[in-house]
Symmetry: C2
Subunit: 214 residues, 2 copies
């Protein structure tokens, strides 16, 4: 299995420097990783450093999803303008849990409409949702025309689990792909999530995972 | 000492609901807390619930500071439009540590110019900076005409320390006030930071702090 082709390498620690970004992107190119995921400020630089050999993905409203609808649209458009080809957008799970379903729906549709043609992954932060809320999130994301549902930001008490990946795939009924992320640090985990049906894996442990054996 | 008058009560956990916001704001009003600090999405609701009895502060680019300059200005203006009177803005400490001083300076000035007349606190995230970088940050923030330097987001490995509050006050030479935040959970800590010269205290443990004794 060509694990590298499934990996979105996360470079999202807030205290990394430009030098570290350079080093990590060079290694990703060498290892033929699929994409790098960076914060909005670093998108332009990441695109420049990638020289077309890596897909650059920008996070949007990361890690809390608590920006306003307009801010999320604005941030998405800027990232695309700066050269990102994919967006990992944090859903407003606080609004969802508050029963503001209409707002969440409108927000996802507004982002969806304004970023058509790109690959959009919506992070639902499974750690904070019950199964009913996870299924509801899948419906809203699919109805907004997005491509992916993503499990976690890595900043909640729990990351991806096998149960959640199964649940999200089952609820998606083929409308969405699944990106598993959060707490994925071994080759075994990546393999297992891919076998379960995840189409993309988010991790910051890419170099440990790909350099070890296999 | 009237501790409540020093407190910015943080309601920044990403998974709280509207109901929790209501409860916490009601308690803050009862305890005569100075301000509540919320995420951008909740500013409008917090202003409505406060009924003029609390100052509402919005965080900007929280907790990483890694949005672009334009996004930070946009987010600041929207928060003020929604009724916030204060802004706690996360400085791009990643850019600072990368030596992109000019960019950080321009960003702070751009936010400073567009939000004049309001109380602006710039979070430098002391956990990631050495003393030289902390002093440099104070210069940039003072030169941008801001009112406060704030120690921490609460999302880094370390929060406020006595040494940092002293250093920031000393470096500010009266140009900036200091807000201590991050890891402050007791009455004793609040008292100590205020005695050292901090003008504002950020904490989510407000109710434990104010209900206990004294």
């Amino acid at each position: 299995m060509d694990l590298a082709s499934y990996i979105d390498h996360s470079i999202l620690q807030p205290n990394y420097t430009e030098k570290e970004l350079e080093n990590q992107i060079a290694k990703c190119i060498e290892l033929k990783v699929y994409a790098v995921c960076v914060n909005p400020f670093w998108v332009k630089k990441a695109v420049e450093l990638s020289e077309g050999k890596l897909v650059v993905c920008s996070v949007v409203s990361f890690p809390f999803g608590l920006d306003t609808k307009g801010q999320k649209v604005f941030q998405s458009l800027k990232a695309l303008e700066d050269g990102a080809k994919e967006l990992d957008i944090v859903m407003n799970f606080s609004a969802l849990k508050s029963g503001l379903i209409k707002y969440v729906e409108e927000e996802l549709k507004a982002i969806g409409r304004s970023t058509e043609g790109f690959t959009r992954k919506v992070i639902i932060e499974t750690a904070y949702l019950n199964d009913e809320e996870k299924r509801l999130a899948v419906e809203l994301i699919a109805n907004a025309g997005m491509e992916f549902v993503k499990t976690s930001t890595g900043y909640a008490p729990k990351g991806a689990s096998e149960e959640d990946v199964k649940l999200l795939l089952e609820a998606s009924k083929g409308r969405l792909k699944v990106k598993a992320s959060g707490g994925i640090r071994s080759r075994e985990q990546v393999t297992r999530f891919v076998e379960l049906g995840a189409s993309r894996i988010g991790t910051s442990a890419t170099f440990e995972i790909l350099n070890r054996g296999g």
